[in-house]
């Protein structure tokens, strides 16, 4: 594109915008009233406050869940800690018993 064409295009753009601006003047002149501005501000503030409260409540609830989990773990460890240890120790004997039961099952069904 030639420079002169570009210039012409930018002049046309400018003219388009100027004419459009003149056309749209009544809409451009519209301003909100003080009452409207006040209402929007109070709505925005209320919404912000509500959101902060919600966030605080949700984080408090998460904290409660985490705290309950930690406390539950320690209680569980105190009560069942030794039992867990016992089960691990007797794992082999449990397997043996199971093996015996399997053999017995096969045997009773044998004819």
């Amino acid at each position: 594109m030639k420079d002169s064409d570009k210039d012409l295009e930018s002049i046309e753009d400018l003219e388009s915008l100027e004419t459009l601006e003149a056309l749209l003047k009544p809409l451009k002149r519209i301003q909100p009233s003080d009452l409207e501005l006040q209402r929007w501000t109070s709505v925005a503030r209320k919404q912000q406050k509500a959101y902060l409260n919600l966030r605080r409540r949700v984080s408090r609830q998460w904290f409660q869940v985490a705290a309950a989990g930690v406390v539950g773990f320690f209680i569980g460890w105190a009560v069942f800690g030794t039992t867990f240890l016992h089960k691990t120790e007797s794992k082999d004997s449990l397997t043996e018993i199971n093996n015996g039961a399997t053999v017995e099952y096969v045997f009773t069904n044998y004819r």
């Binding site: 046309e12 753009d13 388009s16 915008l17 004419t19 459009l20 056309l23 749209l24 009544p26 809409l27 451009k28 002149r29 519209i30 301003q31 909100p32 409207e36 501005l37 209402r39 929007w40 501000t41 709505v43 925005a44 503030r45 919404q47 912000q48 959101y51 902060l52 966030r55």
Partner: protein, 175 residues
Amino acid sequence: MNWEAAVKQIGPALLRYFMASFPRHLSDELVQETFIRLVRKVESREFDSSKGSLLKFSYGIARFMKLETLKSLPHERASEDVVFAAADTVSKSSDEEYETKEQVVRLRKAISKLPEIQQEIIALTLDDEMSLPEISEILEMPLGTIKSHIHRAKISLLGIMRIQEEINEGLGQRP
């Protein structure tokens, strides 16, 4: 965030944006609803200032709200004259004010006859702080396309308004 300052900066622009398509009472409600959504998004950190201004971000929400309203209230535009005319009769304080309101209604009627994308561009150009490159970013369109739409919209608007004037004059001359 200081919402009082934000409302003062963004509120008037949003009101004009909505008023390009809807009557004042509805535009007022839509601005309010836009602020509610805007606050929620800003507080939940969905707004990233490095990607653009708050005004640009709020136009994104406003656009969505406008489409939502046009879908849910398709007759709102058709009934606007009745609503506006009724409001004007009540609040007509001076001739000048009445004339401006009438001009706004006529203008909105003419804008509503344009293709959807041109309506959107016109609504965005109502904000003096919004540059053409910014409009092209919001609408995700090349700058050249925006310019040509503006040019076509201007021609169409002039034509529509001329026809409207002729019709009004014709009606006025009728005995």
